[in-house]
Subunit: 237 residues, 2 copies
């Protein structure tokens, strides 16, 4: 009983926002390196994830390139989120909002592939089919959706955005504030390599906090440290 | 001054032990899948990392196969360790001990490749050359060395082993105990996918603790949650 009450009252919503996750955009389908890599993989460029480690040169042609093409960020952050005690206890919901305004919904029981190449294959299938596995109950599913619409859909009325230019605040205090406002609190962490949140994203925040005195941290570090403090404060670890 | 004193007194040593990290062993160099994959990569099988996601079928021939061939575990755990506030503040030393008794030493300023395929390429170069980069001041270097010898070499006289069958203890208490015994405390986390530590490893432990009431956790989860609690207790985040 205590457990059920805890589950409802303390469930936290984590959103990886403006994630650098997209298929190769049309502008560079014809770039020789893109074309060659796609052929080697036996897929059209349109079905392949944009990945700076492969498409670095081709990406020079793209607008906003410094924020794009980093599926590894979502991969590691998801591994941390889904393997966390908080998620194992049923106290976490994870959403991925991409920079092109898609939202990926994640069943908390999903076992994300540990291998990066298998992960990118899975996400390519997700973009192609709309859900994985393609038949039956999905573990991941994707919809075109803005961040604003997602927040409405999941009833996230208290939105904590973690950003370097936010007010300095201890992770422990941020977790406490999120738990006080659960289950309607959402924590937004950027899942892009460089640059800033868009003004549209910032506008959605109830509070903007920096957890490391204005210094940048990797997405997975922010996610894992937040989840660890939450697990500690709920006596899970 | 406080900072310098803090650095010396509170520096923690993290050891990823019995890591599932090795080059393809001789027994399966001739396996068709191994040979084909090596040819595609333009390297001899002896220079390629054993990786279950590629060598699954060939690995059936290997003894102790369930503990081997998972470079991704070290990759994600290292990303967490080196990106952590604790490491950024100069309060962490990281060592990787492999299941074949090699030890990889890690300069704390190392920026580990974010991309998995680049990471495996780097570790292959490390096994081949003994250090990376091959010339000049190394960021990573490797030596044949037992875990026992490593502990002697780094003066780790208080050894905390984290294992499912250890005594239940809160992460917060384990961190406190490690800090009390710093700089001579080492935390050992297994970096293999299944199975147990060897008796030789267990013998080296001063204390054996389980942080999640006997339930298994991923290596990166244990690492990140430990580092997060340490950062919290030292008021870094």
């Amino acid at each position: 009983m205590t457990t059920n009450r805890l589950r409802t009252q303390h469930k936290l919503k984590l959103i990886l926002a403006e994630a650098a996750l997209e298929t190769v955009p049309r502008e560079i389908w014809g770039h020789p390196a893109v074309y060659k890599h796609a052929r080697r993989r036996g897929k059209p460029p349109s079905s392949i994830l944009l990945d700076r480690s492969v498409h670095h040169h081709a990406m020079k042609r793209l607008p906003n390139a410094e924020k794009r093409g980093r599926p590894d960020i979502v991969h590691v952050a998801l591994l941390e989120a889904l393997s966390s005690p908080l998620n194992k206890e049923g106290l976490l919901e994870v959403y991925i909002h991409t920079l092109n305004d898609y939202v990926i919904f994640v069943d908390p029981s999903t076992r994300i592939p540990r291998n990066y190449n298998r992960f990118t294959g899975l996400i390519e299938q997700l973009f192609q089919e709309g859900q994985v596995p393609p038949q039956g109950k999905p573990l991941l599913w994707i919809k075109p959706m803005t961040l604003r619409r997602l927040l409405e859909e999941i009833n996230a009325s208290y939105v904590i955005l973690l950003a370097e230019d936010g007010e300095n605040k201890q992770v422990r205090e941020i977790v406490a504030e999120a738990l006080e406002n659960a289950p309607n609190a959402a924590i937004i962490v950027g899942a892009f390599p460089h640059g800033d949140f868009t003004p549209e994203t910032k506008e959605l925040a109830t509070r903007v906090y920096s957890i490391y005195r204005g210094n940048p941290l990797e997405t997975w570090t922010v996610v894992s440290h937040f989840l660890a403090l939450a697990a500690d404060m709920l006596n899970l670890i």
